[in-house]
Structures are given as C-alpha cells and as structure tokens.
C-alpha cells in the first residue's frame, strides 16, 4: 500500500465557481498515470467527500497524465458551514488515499 500523494507529482483542489469543486491529479509520468487511472476508483474519491459516486464527473486525460474529478461542492462556497473558501485543502485528504 502506498498513498496517492507519494505516487504523483501534484494534487490540486479548487473551486470551479461557488457551487462546484474540482480536483486535478497530476501524475507526472505515463506509468503513474496508468497506476492512478487504473487503481483509483471514483467511489474511493467520492467517499473522501461523503458524496454519492454518481455526483462525480471523472476525466482520465492521458495526454496530460492527469486524472480529474469534479463534484458539487460539499458546502456552497462561503456558506455558514463552509470550512474552506477556496476549496484548496481537499487535495491533502485526496493525497492520503491508499492505493
């Protein structure tokens, strides 16, 4: 078992507008891309957010060695219960997924 962070070159999470969140996993190499693309299930990522798997959009982009997920923001940006205005911290939690 190894965590996702140690396998890839960078993980970024950001708002895509106030109502959506997007996570970009930059794998760095074709080999790492194959490992992440084949080994990281959408349901594992959904579980990090406590979200339904069907609510995630997934893009596996071999040209960039990137796997990208987008989902409705767990809380609307800036709502009373929001914890992270720019949605930036989620990348850390995604990085801790064990593959």
């Amino acid at each position: 078992m190894t965590d996702l962070r140690s396998l890839v070159s960078k993980i970024r999470s950001k708002n895509a507008g106030p109502f959506w969140l997007t996570i970009d996993i930059f794998c760095g190499t074709a080999e790492a891309f194959d490992q992440v693309s084949g080994g990281l299930s959408t349901s594992r990522v959904a579980a990090v957010f406590g979200a339904e798997e069907q609510s995630l959009k997934r893009f596996d982009i071999p040209d960039l060695n990137v796997v990208k997920f987008s989902l409705p923001r767990p809380t609307v940006q800036g709502a009373i219960d929001d914890r992270d205005m720019h949605g930036a911290s989620w990348a850390a939690l995604i990085g801790e997924i064990a593959l």
């Binding site: 895509a16 106030p18 893009f59 940006q77 009373i80 205005m85």
Partner: protein, 451 residues
C-alpha cells in the same frame, strides 16, 4: 491578426514591469486585465466592494494607463472591483478619474454596468426567463428579491459594444473572465474557437506558463487559432503548461460555457513554436440557439461574531472534541433560554484548529496535537444578538471543565475582548442563467469624456 496583451491574472496581483514594457514594444491591439471573480467568497458581491487594496489597485492601474497611452490602444478591465457590481465599477471609475487628473491626459472612458435590479430578476424568474445551472440552489422570487447585489456576466457582445464607442479605457462590471480577451479577436473575425480558447488560456496571465507569478503574457489571434507567449524572464509556455491550464477552476476541462454558446477544445492541438511560445488550433465554438447570461447573486445571511481561545493543557487537548461538544450543547440551551431565540434563529459552532477544523467528521487523521485553537463561530439575525451570544459563549471558552469533579480550568484568550465582530455576512444565492432577446438588454453602457 489581433494581438492581446494581458498584464496579469487580476489587477491587484501586480505584474512584471519589464515584461509589460516588452509587450508594449510588441505593439498590442488591446490591453486586457481581469479585475475579479467569485473566488474570494460571497461577501464582496454582497457588499459590492473590492477585495484588493485601493493603494495597490491605483498603483497598478496607473502603470497600465500609462502603458496604454504609450501604445495608444484600448485598455479594458473586466469584473472591476472584484465583484463587478455597479458600486465596485464606480470605485474603479473614481480611481481612474484620479489617475487621469494626475497623468494630465484627456481620456474617453466607456463604463459597462452589469448590476441587475433584484425586482426585475424576480419578475424574469416568475416569467420563466431564468433557468438553473447544475447544482443551483433552490430559489424563490422572494430569495431573489432579498439579494443585496445581483450581477449578470457580460460576454464578448457587450465588450464589443463598449469597444465600438472608441473609448480609450473600458471599465466593465461583471464579465466572464474570457470575454474581455475574446471580444476584439471576434470583432475582427479571428477563428471563434481560437478566440475563446486563447482567452481562457490567457485569463489568468502567466498561470499557463512557468514562472506563473510574472503575470504578463501576449496572445496572437488569427484565422486558424492562437499563439501564446509569456513575456517575463524565465517564463516559458509549453504544450503541457498551456493545455493543463484548461483544468484550472474548470469543472469540465474540455467545455467552457459562455454567453451565446460554448467552447469545445476536445480536438485542440497544442504545438511548441519555440521554447517559449505555443501554437493552438482545432478548438471549436458551438453557438447556442438562445442567448443567455449567467447570474450571480449574494444575499444577507445574518451577522457573525467569532471567539477564539487556545487549549494547551494536555488533558483538555486530548479531550477537546468532547469538551467542545459539551459547550455547544450547553451554550445553545442558554441562548434559547436567556435570549428568547429559537434554535433555528442562530448558529453556534466550535471548530478545533489543529484537530478537525479542515474537514470535520470527514477528517481521517487521529494523532493528538500539543495545542488546539478553538474558534467559536456564531451567526444571528442582528449584530447585537450575535455579540450577545458571543458574551454567553465567553465564560465557557475561558473556564469550562470537562467534568464537574475537576478543578476549574482557565484557557488562553488572545485578546480583550476575545469576541470579534464580522458584521453582516452573505451567501451566494444564484447559479442560474437569464435569457435575453438582445445581449445589451441587461447591461448599461455610458461614455464619459474627461478633459
């Protein structure tokens, strides 16, 4: 060909002066810079104010106005004053007037206004002219009327109308990030897919290249596509850095919706011109049947007071979650009893910084830290009520024991008083589009001559 100079991703983030000068020497047809986004949260739109310091905005804008005069081309700012509401546009106009006087140069300024009257938007909503986008909040016409500010995002058509006035400077309210860059290439019949794609690549300045904080980039648009060139020392674009920028803050890296259609970059080909510039062709613009503009709205969501304390005693650090839950329950009950508020009238939450503040129940780490910051977050219908709840919370954060058997503890307050009042808070209320029969229908255009 149309050459667009983009000094940085946003006015207020600074730009590399030497690189800007290189851009001016390359004779651009227009200088375009973004002034904001929703990314800093609902308060700026709610209040209709800028996030950036006036001093930074004025200094950077003065530099761009001088560069504009040297190049003798239009200078356009989109989403002026962070949120692009009329009050923020007026703030930007006021700064521009000051600089105009200081630079002693007569100017023609076009002002494009994007603010909407909430009553008009509520009526359009009732008339079925407003459609929700994916994951839009449920709204009623009453929710819409409660918004303190609603803006419509202008597209290339409205920027084109402003450019057609022959203005030297265009101060635009809320626009899409791309519209200010795409407008002139589209007016001059450059490739439409290339115009929008190049605009998306360029809207964050040099973020599509190495040395992203250098800001300045130049984009050349033509009949088949575009070429992007970062201008600062040490900044290089590659097919990878440019194509990867389509990922940035986009929920779909291949499709981008704009007023009047969408961009599809699925078939785009990125190629290196040299070590610094990248050529892109093959992106497609797909026009829509109906012309719609996106709406953003913010409405008041109560008044907030926050209270902070620090836990350093190992016994309390180890049991912080239990301690915080106990305080929340007891303090909420006291608010209901002593202030005659209902449970749904206010919120009171303790978050434990260093423990679970980032993700709450979704946190997966369990190691015990050596200290924990406690932040009590209160919202209430009035400022006075939020402050009063803060005072009710205060003694708990100072002295609350885990059990009645133990000695009364005392925790660290950072300030006297520990309560901090944030005033009115806001929430985003709209993720919708408005149907227009004419692109200018929802926007105002004014031309001001300053001698």
């Amino acid at each position: 060909m149309v050459r667009v100079l983009v000094p940085s991703g946003a006015l207020g983030l600074n730009y590399d002066k030497q690189a800007l000068q290189r851009g001016i020497a390359a004779k651009p047809d227009i200088i375009a810079i973004d002034g904001g986004s929703t990314d800093s949260g609902p308060s700026y739109l709610g209040r209709g104010v800028s996030k950036y310091a006036r001093a930074s905005t004025k200094l950077e804008w003065a530099g761009l106005m001088a560069a504009r005069a040297e190049a003798n081309v239009p200078l356009v700012i989109g989403t002026a004053g962070t949120c692009g509401a009329d009050s923020a546009v007026d703030w930007m106009l006021d700064i521009t007037r000051e600089i105009t006087a200081e630079q002693a140069r007569p100017l023609k300024i076009a002002v494009l206004r994007s603010s909407q009257n909430p009553d008009d938007i509520a009526q359009a909503f009732e008339a079925g002219q407003i459609m929700p986008l994916a994951n839009a909040p449920e709204v009623t016409s009453e929710d819409i009327r409660a918004c303190s500010n609603i803006v419509a995002l202008a597209g290339a058509e409205q920027i084109a109308a402003a450019l057609e006035t022959g203005a030297d400077i265009i101060i635009a309210g809320r626009t899409t990030d791309t519209a200010i860059i795409a407008a002139l290439p589209l007016m001059r019949e450059c490739h439409a897919g290339g115009a929008w794609h190049g605009a998306k690549i360029g809207e964050c300045g040099a973020l599509c290249a190495t040395n992203p904080q250098s800001g300045v980039i130049m984009i050349d648009f033509d009949a088949t596509g575009f070429t992007v060139t970062p201008l600062a020392d040490g900044a290089h674009a590659s097919p990878h850095t440019v194509s990867a920028h389509m990922l940035y803050e986009n929920s779909d890296p291949f499709i981008l919706y704009e007023p009047g259609g969408h961009l599809d970059v699925t078939a785009a080909k990125y190629s290196a011109v040299d070590g610094t510039s990248v050529r892109v062709e093959g992106s497609e613009w797909v026009a829509s049947d109906r012309y719609t503009v996106k709406l953003e709205g913010a409405r008041p969501a109560g008044f907030r007071t926050v209270v902070m304390a620090l836990l350093r005693d190992p016994h309390y650090v180890a049991n912080a979650a239990l301690w915080a839950k106990d305080i929340e329950g007891k303090c909420r009950a006291k608010v209901i009893e002593r202030m005659a508020l209902d449970a749904e009238d206010f919120t009171l939450e303790l978050r434990l910084i260093g423990h679970s503040a980032s993700f709450g129940a979704l946190e997966t780490q369990t190691a015990t830290p050596f200290e924990i910051g406690v932040i009590g977050i209160i919202t209430a219908p009035s400022e006075a009520q939020a402050a009063e709840i803060g005072k009710l919370l205060n003694p708990y954060l100072l002295h609350h024991p885990l059990t009645q058997e133990e000695e009364q503890p005392t925790f660290a307050f950072l300030f006297s008083p520990p309560e901090m009042h944030q005033g009115q808070v806001y929430e985003f209320a709209l993720n919708h589009v408005l149907h227009l029969n004419d692109p200018m229908e929802a926007f105002g255009l004014e031309v001001i001559d300053i001698d």
